[in-house]
Homo-oligomer: 491 residues x 2
């Protein structure tokens, strides 16, 4: 009952999924299985079922596109704690029930929400020119008449931190550093330090506002928002990201000589009695229902785009993978597969633990069960292809890893060089509580061209790569959930 | 004395231009010239000088990058009739004088200016979502409280025009047609019909506002502005372009079923006593100073970007080409080379002739001289490479064409299949008055990803392709200005 923008899938899904799954009943060994013990003709191995799930997903026989299309179309941006996030969660509950999942329910938690309001910026000296800015998440408003100051440019955040006390009295600090493009997204963490701690470091030196070049790798007039850090319950000064071309412009203008003065305005506000919610849905295990393989993604998004790649697509990937497993005829997995669509991944909070309130809420609510959560993974890195599988240290050299790589290798997945130590923000508190993580790592080369900008919309989702993600998730989750492997590596 | 963002050029220009131009004095025949009459050792042919100009430009030994960088950095957007356009014109006069041009002056003309103001849009039913819009140029404001209506979607403008009278009473008309990408930009004219005439056609059927999918080929949340047509001195209803992803969103939402209602706001206004100006600069001809080869581009820009590709780059290309000719030692051309940086190319006007007021002002002011304007060309199609040369019909099969293609062929320029009938909006009135046009046609495959959007900024300029443009212009203009060819083809 998904929306109908995918004629290819609409035509194929009903018939083709049934056909490919029925094919399992009249099973013939795959060529690659020839060297292994011959299975019973009517009982395919887990590896063979994983390969079938993979191939069905890869052929587009999965609901990921329809899910992300309908979610982002119906609800648009889904900022944490707002109406759209709540409506999306209610919709997800109805959809997951209709799809046949069990134990479908919401778990609510309180939240301080942040609301962007109106924002603007201009160069006022030496000439009048508009600038494109986005207030950073959690940033306080400017005074109602705006604020104006001379710009002091710091090539890097380290340069700002090296400035003496009072060096910025009455000024606006601008950190001009560029984020580095990298396949694994390694440039992001480095760049985000300035976004998080910049306002506090600037305020400490007397600045009236903090501006940074958008964290991101694009060249669009679409600034990248994201959280900045609370200090003693508030962000010390108004803080903005400047679109990359505008950051270039400020730097060039300053290099022409003379003072550059800018004006900033924001009417951002906070709502202290908001709430958010996690959505939970299970495929109950047929042998060990108390053992949970946890799949996470987040329903909330930043407010500028419609959260298609961050993280509508993640919710689509894990839901579609689980649905393929749910639909296996006579093959419910031994363990429970749990889908959690987390609320409030994006925003920071004024109180400890300062973020990941959806993740913390889940870990708190399910504390007693975490010891029997056998594995946890998160999809929150867009829709580009999975290129690497990281498994918990205990199983890196196991038969499980060998089997998983036999299934995933053919769709372009490499074994990670290091074991998985984390998998995402939402499952972070669960992983910190001792649940082993896995990571299906995606190519992030283009992710930060779009991430956290107004350009995060459905048209940026590549359907073929989305299908490859579902293929990887369905196959791996099936292997983990239908097996008996102890990912903690207890003797 | 240009700004210093181009270390490569800064290092090379002084020494290398001097060296390459001095090389003309100790001339040796080029290999390709071997079959033609041997020149005097100390007197290079026009073709050889054209090739030297071409090669110097191609090597980056030209001021185009510095010009477009400083123009767009100092003045940002330059909407017609505004302060930034005027300041840019004053700056250009000073720069052109400093570069050594003659007869440098401004020619002012009156104008109705259009000022964007603040604008916004939201989906209000079935869910609340922001939309990214840009008011179309000359569009009137909405009421101060905005306006709201159900959306009626027309797949094409023809569908709107086929709707009966009163079909849109109280509604908002939305034309969802996509612009077609084409190397020669042919998709633009087709798409622009809806932008020009849509508000009138919608109003005629009772609509309270007109919205169209951005004319353009991008997928950014950056709507494409541009003029819409006055009818009896005003645009009948507020009119907006919707960014491509937002247009997709409206269509998908409607396809989910149920009513889609949106809200629009704009505080656009007009200034009736504004003025704009053309900037004129000459290289006086050494033999026939009264014969003019006219090079045009426009200084004004739309207000969303900084007018780097439209048309800062054009002003840079023609100025840089002329400057290379100006700097030829002992080789001032026989005819005058005139650079005109036109004002007010972009906006429509409420009175006839409704547009191209800079172009009309020039043609009016110089009416008596146009009979001795021998050739006119305009650079107003971005910065991508020149791929085709169109010449006036009279010389298509002449020795001039053969020589020009020998010089331009090696840098990727093809002969056009048809003679040039026009060259650009600004020189349009001059060409209509009988001056033969030429066109150095540029690859427009990517032009409409950027054109008229906030993304029209300096970082979109490809320096190598910019240099190739200067190379083509310098070589061709030299051949036309130092020759005696009658491009009108009089016997």
């Amino acid at each position: 009952m998904f929306n109908l923008f995918s004629p290819r899938q609409r035509t194929l899904r009903g018939a083709a999924v049934a056909a490919s799954l029925l094919a399992l009943l009249s099973f013939a060994p795959l060529p690659s299985a020839a060297a292994r013990p011959a299975p019973q003709p009517s009982e395919p191995t887990d590896e063979q079922i994983a390969a079938q799930l993979r191939d069905a997903a890869l052929a587009g026989e999965n609901l990921a596109w329809d899910w992300v299309s309908e979610l982002t179309t119906r609800f648009g941006p889904r900022p944490a704690g707002g109406d759209n996030e709540r409506q999306a969660a209610d919709w997800a509950v109805e959809r997951l029930k209709a799809l046949g999942f069990s134990n479908v329910h919401l778990e609510s938690f309180p939240l301080t929400a942040w609301v962007r309001g109106v924002e603007s910026a201009q160069i006022v000296t030496p000439t009048s020119q508009p600038l494109v800015v986005a207030a950073l998440g959690e940033s306080p408003p400017t005074p109602p008449t705006g604020l104006e100051g001379d710009v002091v440019i710091f090539p890097t955040f380290a340069d700002l931190k090296a400035a003496p006390a009072n060096a910025l009295t009455g000024k606006i600090a601008f950190v001009a550093a560029h984020m580095v493009r990298a396949q694994d997204g390694a440039g992001y963490g480095v760049a985000v330090e300035a976004r998080s701690d910049g306002p506090a470091e600037a305020a400490r030196r007397g600045a009236i506002a903090f501006v940074l070049r958008s964290v991101g790798t694009d060249s669009n007039r679409l600034p990248h928002t994201g959280t900045t850090a609370y200090v003693d319950g508030k962000v010390p000064v108004p803080a903005f990201a400047l679109a990359a071309p505008d950051a270039d412009q400020l730097e060039r203008l300053a290099a022409l000589g003379g003072k550059v003065r800018i004006r900033l305005y924001s009417s951002a506000s906070t709502v202290h009695d908001a709430h958010s919610q996690n959505v939970i849905a299970d495929i109950p295990g047929r042998v060990h229902p108390e053992e949970v393989v946890l799949l996470g993604a987040h329903l909330d998004s930043w407010d500028q785009g419609t959260g298609a790649i961050d993280d509508g697509a993640g919710t689509a990937i894990i839901t579609a993978a689980a649905k393929l497993i749910l639909d296996l005829p006579h093959h419910a997995p031994r363990r429970t597969v749990r889908v959690v669509l987390f609320g409030s991944e994006e925003v920071a909070q004024p109180v400890a633990p300062f973020g990941a309130f959806g993740g913390h809420s889940y870990a708190d609510n399910h504390k007693a069960d975490l010891a029997r959560h056998v594995l946890a993974g998160e999809s929150d890195f867009g829709t580009d292809r999975v290129y690497s599988l990281a498994l918990p240290a205990a199983v890196v050299k196991s038969d499980f890893a060998t089997t998983a790589m036999r299934v995933l290798g053919p769709i372009g997945v490499l074994p990670a060089e290091e074991p998985a130590r984390h998998s995402g923000t939402d499952v972070g508190p669960t992983v910190e509580a001792g649940v082993p993580p896995f990571a299906l790592r995606q190519d992030g080369s283009q992710y930060f061209d779009i991430h956290h900008t107004a350009n995060d919309t459905l048209d940026k989702v590549d359907r073929e790569q989305l299908d490859q993600n579902v293929a990887a998730w369905a196959a791996l989750v099936w292997l983990a959930a239908d097996g008996e492997v102890d990912f903690r590596g207890h003797p």
